[in-house]
């Protein structure tokens, strides 16, 4: 039942441009309007420019803690999200900025969250790893590697229970494939016919440990076979290829209520988190080679120009306005207030935030500060 003709990252003869052209003719791609193609480009560029601006803000000391950048992987989030319908949902890892912008969260609320400001998407309570937007079917942003994988099965379970024809896209990195809860989730998803798609964004590194040093039994998606789950491996530098493969998985989820494991080979240009020294586990040349040959934004830009879908000027102006939007979001974040101290104890319990409907009694917070 599984596709055994999957590609792998080491394939030397992979003709990137030809493959992109071919994928552009896949049924989910060939009828795309130029405007739609340009939108995908815009989304990828917005993510990249936003994150570059977050990096500057981090270096300037406005953002503390971790900052896990998605730069290099943009075609995965944008490609997958581009096919979502009203009853399709997303849950992801701590590397969550790209997915957040792709589902339609604003740069302002995301940047302000990174700054720990009251205007952030979680009012400054979640931070970089914990963005949420349930109104956009976006359920986080989860800090613990693999911890979101049972939640993804649960979202799919709820959709099925509510008889909705939707699915859950549950993203993870290659590192998460060595966490136990993933396999518990795969078993449950297959056993109970849940419409969940586990997307492994394989960027080659589990923090600072390369694929070959952290995993045996690759491709990683093949592990789905043990659970009778359909699986596939594809490339993530080509948004058309991402769309083609995710659409197949979504069809399976919608029509057969069956899970899929889709491994998407991609690459991140920055460290696991920006504060990590990434020269311990890979060379600058390796990063440069990927940028030169497989950068998802550059490849798509070239394709849009080649096919006449857009002219240089349009794409340049998209880039400029994304840069400007990112800059504005940083200013918005900077000018926004921090949450008040009293906010530390809001949003802990539904009940204390909704006192008119409170039914329990007694003391719920135990403060030592008077």
């Amino acid at each position: 039942m599984s596709d055994t003709t999957q590609q792998n990252t080491e394939e030397p003869t992979h003709d990137i441009a030809a493959s992109l052209r071919e994928n552009s003719q896949h049924e989910v791609n060939k009828s795309l309007t130029d405007a739609a193609r340009i939108e995908y480009f815009r989304e990828m560029v917005r993510i990249r420019r936003f994150e570059e601006r977050t990096l500057r803000a981090y270096q300037q000391g406005h953002i503390g803690g971790f900052l896990h950048l998605y730069i290099g992987q943009e075609a995965v989030a944008v490609g997958c999200v581009s096919l979502m319908g009203d009853d399709d949902h997303v849950i992801t890892t701590y590397r969550d900025h790209g997915h957040a912008l792709a589902v339609g969260m604003t740069m302002n609320e995301c940047m302000a969250e990174l700054y720990g400001k009251h205007t952030g998407c979680s009012k400054g309570k979640g931070g970089s790893m914990h963005f949420f937007a349930p109104d956009k079917n976006y359920w986080g942003g989860h800090g613990i590697v693999g911890g979101q994988t049972p939640l993804g099965a649960g979202i799919a379970f709820a959709l099925k229970y509510q008889k909705k024809k939707g699915c859950c896209l549950c993203f993870m990195g290659d590192g998460a494939t060595n966490q136990g809860p993933l396999y518990e989730s795969l078993n449950l998803a297959s056993l109970w016919d849940l419409p969940v798609i586990y997307v492994i964004e394989n960027n080659g590194f589990s923090m600072g440990t390369s694929l070959g040093r952290h995993s045996i039994g690759t491709p990683l998606a093949r592990r789905a076979e043990g659970f009778d789950i359909d699986w596939k491996v594809c490339y993530g530098h080509d948004i058309y290829e991402v769309r083609a493969n995710i659409s197949e998985a979504m069809k399976r989820a919608h029509e057969e209520s069956r899970p899929t494991v889709l491994e998407i080979n991609t690459y991140r240009y920055r460290g696991h988190s920006v504060s990590d020294a990434d020269d311990t586990y890979r060379t600058k040349q390796e990063i440069q080679d990927y940028k030169d040959t497989k950068d998802p934004i550059n490849l798509f830009r070239d394709h849009l120009l080649e096919t006449g879908a857009a002219d240089e000027e349009t794409l340049k102006s998209i880039n400029a306005s994304a840069k400007e939007e990112a800059e504005q979001s940083a200013q918005f974040a900077e000018q926004s207030p921090f949450p008040p101290v009293s906010d530390i104890q809001t949003d802990v319990y539904w009940e204390t935030d909704n006192p008119d409907e409170k039914v329990s009694e007694g003391t719920i917070f135990f403060n030592s500060i008077k």
């Binding site: 849950i91 979640g126 949420f132 939640l151 979202i155 136990g180 518990e184 909704n354 039914v359 135990f366």
Partner: protein, 324 residues
């Protein structure tokens, strides 16, 4: 009024809430076909079918996380641990996810899940299966924790827990499942955060939760009959939220407090209760607060020794006698 077992009181609460709300379902190992490892869920599969009463594989992290994920979209799962000790293999899900998602989302998401099962020692099953994690749970903001001691409280608290929009950790006791008591046929709720004075007294306050509240009642009877000491027994019922008022009022009346719990002593629930009493009733105390907890070691398996390790009536009586 019908007299029913503790397990059936919970069973009734589950059945009533499943009928009341189509989003309520029961999930866990052996809960459906096998009728529950301790028969708490017996008959529910036959009544409500496999969509509402769901057997899960032995995958605590998997099905706990699945339940939490489903609850984000409005499902209200009641998830059984055969023993609460098993929550440790699902700790990331029940702590990081259940307790924190509301907070980290800035209040955008609720997690209306109930996790339930027995949390007790005294059953000769060794250290891995005898944990009493109510202190762990209560140490985690975002969670609510209840420990009912009687069939009446178990039913009323379970119904409240299922209707609660926050995650509730519901801790039962295998030694109580067969206890019988009167439970009304008409609907009632016991609110979370409300302790109950199970016996009025004047000479000291025995403050306890879970099965220890029943031990305290037995001890109070011995104290009265053999030592002419009139102990008051306060059953916390709920750990978080906590009914501070009932605790403090009792201590102000009796001027002495002996705290009884099955937790191990270090950072047990009663450490917090003792802090509370000294903070809010210091001037009323005529004696230092005493604590009776399990003896501080992993749970021993040997049957007669385990009976000594967990609190028992003799230990409560002898501790009280040093107080008054």
């Amino acid at each position: 009024m019908p007299v029913i077992e503790y397990r059936d009181a919970i069973n009734q609460a589950l059945a009533e809430e499943i009928i009341r709300d189509p989003n309520v379902l029961v999930m866990g190992e052996e809960v459906a076909q096998y009728k529950g490892a301790y028969k708490v869920t017996r008959g529910l599969l036959e009544k409500f079918g496999p969509n509402r009463i769901i057997d899960a594989p032995i995958s605590e992290a998997g099905f706990c996380g699945l339940g939490i994920g489903a609850s984000m979209l409005g499902i209200r799962p009641v998830i059984e641990f055969i023993f609460w000790s098993l929550c440790y293999v699902a700790f990331d899900q029940v702590i990081n996810n259940a307790a924190n998602i509301r907070y980290m989302s800035g209040g955008l998401i609720n997690i209306p899940v109930v996790f339930r099962g027995p949390a007790n020692g005294g059953t000769n099953v060794g250290a891995t299966h005898s944990h009493t994690p109510e202190n762990f749970a209560a140490n985690t903001p975002g969670l609510k924790v209840v420990c009912p001691a009687t069939p009446y409280d178990a039913k009323g608290l379970m119904k409240s827990a299922i209707r609660d929009n926050d995650p509730v950790f519901f801790m039962e006791n295998t030694l109580l499942y067969g206890d019988k008591a009167e439970v009304p046929e008409e609907e009632y709720l016991v609110p979370l955060g409300k302790a109950e004075v199970k016996k009025e007294g004047t000479d000291l306050s025995l403050i306890a939760h879970g099965r220890c509240a029943l031990l305290a009642l037995e001890a109070a009877q011995v104290l009265e009959e053999k030592h002419n000491i009139n102990a008051e027994v306060v059953d916390l019922r709920s750990i978080r939220p906590l009914d501070e008022e009932t605790i403090i009022n009792s201590v102000k009346k009796t001027n002495r407090a002996v705290l009884v719990e099955e937790n191990k002593p270090f950072c047990g629930v009663d450490a917090q209760i003792a802090y509370l009493i000294q903070e809010k009733a210091f001037d009323y105390l005529d004696a230092p607060i005493q604590r009776i907890s399990s003896i501080d070691a992993p749970q021993i398996c040997s049957m007669p020794l385990e009976k000594q390790q967990i609190p028992n009536v003799e230990r409560i009586v002898s501790t009280v006698l040093t107080q008054v």
